[in-house]
């Protein structure tokens, strides 16, 4: 089922023509209205008239989070404030938040894009959708809310927090689709188990998760605990919020809404495009945003583009699930490590619970990495010998797969912090 079949199943040629038209119109607009871009373009001696093909996009300057911060709050707005009907800001886990704006048309476009994603994730107007994202400046909650409303589903703006209440709502209001971060879904699943609530008392069918990277192993765990089919969706407030891309039920990558965003994947060091199919940083250019257009925004999210056709029939290029951020990539003794890689190893080892933390210290000149992982009660209270075996098993796998020697500590259940929003899995104590 498609929300906008004409747009979602467009021929490649048509997508590219539309992208060129919209890119040129966007460039004409930003050059005229956003001082940052006019200045940057003039400095580089390049202008909208130099872009005659999609490949010419590579000649234009990037926009970074720092650029947005330097122009806080409204420096990048391309329309007068009286036309801005909504303001959101990014959570910004470090530093000043970035502020984004939407015109009435932007809100309508946003709702439609999220509607596409919800539809490809299985939900319809007959579903009862519980939005367990925190409502506020964060774009996740409102984005999914408007998209869910757009498809005509029954939307419960539960917001985040108070897990027992969330579960009661699910039972009483007969929620069929859960929208939240994957970490929170996991927490809800755990709580359901602890409270002894049978899955049969719940009506859950679908899960639409995003806002942080999560592994296939974690997906499996969530699906088992909640009895749902879970899909990933991706977006970021600087570009629109949720609605940039999403998994269809084939779950072979996330379809990008290419009629509204041009996607590039670049090497985060050299900033040149990577060869097709290789991992790199996702760079996005908006094609229809009125209030807050973005040209080549560096998302810091690492992904790769997938080739081939998806059985679902949608023609938007697919991206893999985000591996991590190019700025939460860890470098441990010279080796690049993503927390999600550690996660994958841990989940594959029996007896571990899906809660872990990576602690980085520096002793003298050497990095020291420790993984704390929660284990089931039976192991925690088991013989020292068995615990030692497990520790060694984990260490061996980590060394094998990641090329880094970790110290491993086993922790009892609930020994590690739980997160309702984005999980913070790394404690980096190293001082530069």
């Amino acid at each position: 089922m498609y929300w906008e079949p004409d747009s979602e199943c467009m021929h490649r040629e048509e997508i590219e023509q539309l992208q060129l038209e919209r890119l040129q119109a966007t460039l004409n607009r930003v050059y005229g209205r956003v001082p940052f871009y006019r200045k940057k373009f003039d400095e580089m001696g390049i202008g909208p008239e130099d872009v005659g093909a999609l490949a010419d996009l590579a000649r234009l300057p990037f926009t970074t989070k720092d650029d947005l911060r330097d122009n806080y709050p409204y420096g990048f707005f391309a329309v007068p404030m009286r036309e801005v009907v909504r303001i959101h800001a990014s959570s910004g886990t470090t530093g000043t938040p970035t502020v984004v704006g939407y015109t009435r048309n932007d809100i309508r476009t946003w709702s439609n894009l999220v509607a596409r994603i919800i539809t490809m994730g299985g939900a319809t107007k007959d579903d009862v959708i519980q939005i367990a994202f925190g409502y506020g400046l964060f774009t996740g909650a409102f984005g999914l809310h408007y998209g869910a409303e757009r498809i005509g589903a029954s939307v419960i703006p539960a917001s985040s927090g108070n897990t027992a209440r969330q579960i009661k709502i699910m039972q009483d209001f007969k929620t069929t689709a859960l929208v939240s971060t994957p970490s929170y879904a996991l927490l809800i699943g755990e709580t359901i188990r602890e409270m002894g609530i049978p899955l049969s008392s719940l009506s859950l069918k679908w899960g639409l998760f995003g806002a942080e990277p999560w592994s296939d192993a974690m997906r499996q765990e969530i699906e088992d605990r909640l009895g749902i089919v879970a899909t990933d969706n991706y977006g970021l407030s600087e570009v629109i919020g949720p609605g940039v891309s999403g998994e269809c039920l084939e779950r072979k990558g996330l379809h990008i809404n290419e009629d509204h965003f041009i996607v590039e994947v670049v090497d985060p060091e050299t900033l040149t495009p990577v060869p097709p199919g290789e991992v790199g940083e996702l760079v996005l250019t908006t094609l229809s945003k009125e209030a807050f257009p973005m040209i080549r925004y560096r998302t810091r999210d690492l992904t790769r583009l997938l080739s081939g056709e998806c059985p679902c029939g949608r023609t938007g290029q697919r991206m893999s699930r985000v591996f991590g951020r190019s700025d939460d990539m860890l470098i441990i003794r010279g080796v690049n490590v993503f927390p999600s890689q550690v996660e994958t190893v841990l989940f594959e080892i029996e007896g571990t619970e899906p809660h872990y933390q990576i602690v980085l210290d520096r002793k003298g000149a050497m990095d020291e990495a420790t993984v704390l992982v929660e284990v089931s009660e039976s192991i925690f209270f088991d013989q020292m010998r068995r615990q030692k075996e497990m520790i060694e098993r984990i260490q061996k796998r980590l060394a094998q797969d990641l090329g880094v020697t970790f110290g491993v500590k086993l922790v009892g259940k609930k020994g590690l912090e739980r997160f309702e929003g984005k999980a913070r899995r790394v404690v980096d104590n190293r001082k530069m």
Binding site: E14, Q17, L18, L20, E21, R22, Q24, A25, N28, R29, G32, P48, E49, V51, G52, V79, E83, T103, R104, N105, R108, S288, E290
Partner: protein, 244 residues
């Protein structure tokens, strides 16, 4: 059906169109709105071959129209209803219409021309009433109908209309635009409509482009453009209150 990429056109050193890209799908009504001097007429002249493009491409059913002579473009199925109608005033309504079918005569399809004539009269009964009248004596609205009828006689797949509302009283504008919309629904004609009267154009169009000093600054569905505040301010007159 019609795909335009990076069109550049002008008059000698005076550059009017700058990297204009747009497309029209089969049976779509697409409008290009903009102020005087934005380049709208230049755009239609360039597509119909009256003006030679300086760069870019105009692909119509896989053929590049750029560099083709205007009569070839009409032959291929793309006809222009020019700004100001440009009728042959001393000739009758019927004669003007038949002239529109000159490509069909070349193809020796004279019987079909008679059929087409009857169809235009069915579409515009007023023209039938004035069949033997001189074109120059018709009212503004009738002249616009005649100009459209003449273009229809070449059996176009794509009809290019240059400011059909010009000089017409508001009630007539409504009537003409209803006719234009029906051309699409009843005959599947694809229409590119260039207009200063943005409100009328957007009321029948599927999609539109906004041209400002030769550049496309906005593209979207008619609904998008009607709701866009810049378009409202610049081209729709007073700001609309309570727009959904």
């Amino acid at each position: 059906m019609l795909r335009i990429k990076n069109l550049e056109a002008g008059y000698g050193p005076l550059k009017v169109l700058r990297k204009v890209s747009m497309h029209i799908g089969p049976s779509e009504i697409v409008t290009v709105i903009g102020a005087n001097g934005a380049g709208k007429t230049t755009l239609l002249k360039t597509i119909s071959g009256l003006l030679c493009a300086q760069a870019g491409e105009i692909i119509f059913e896989k053929r590049n129209l750029r560099m083709l002579p205007p009569e070839m473009i009409v032959f291929l199925g793309c006809s222009l209803v020019p700004e100001g109608r440009q009728l042959f005033a001393p000739m009758t309504v019927r004669e003007n219409l038949i002239l529109g079918a000159y490509v069909q005569y070349r193809r020796r399809r004279q019987e079909e021309v008679k059929e087409d004539l009857e169809r235009v009269f069915a579409l515009f009964p007023r023209l039938k009433e004035r069949e033997t009248q001189l074109a120059g004596t018709l009212s503004g609205g009738e002249q616009q109908m005649l100009a459209i009828g003449r273009a229809l006689l070449s059996r176009p797949a794509v009809l290019l209309l240059d400011e059909p509302s010009m000089g017409l009283a508001p009630r007539l504008v409504r009537e003409i635009f209803d006719h234009i919309a029906r051309l699409r629904t009843e005959r599947g004609v694809t229409i590119l409509l260039v207009e200063q009267n943005a409100r009328a154009a957007l009321s029948i169009a599927d999609r539109g482009y906004v041209l400002e000093t030769g550049r496309v600054v906005l593209e979207g569905t008619a609904e998008d453009l009607l709701a866009n505040r810049d378009v409202q301010r610049a081209y729709l007159g007073r700001e609309r209150n309570g727009t959904p």
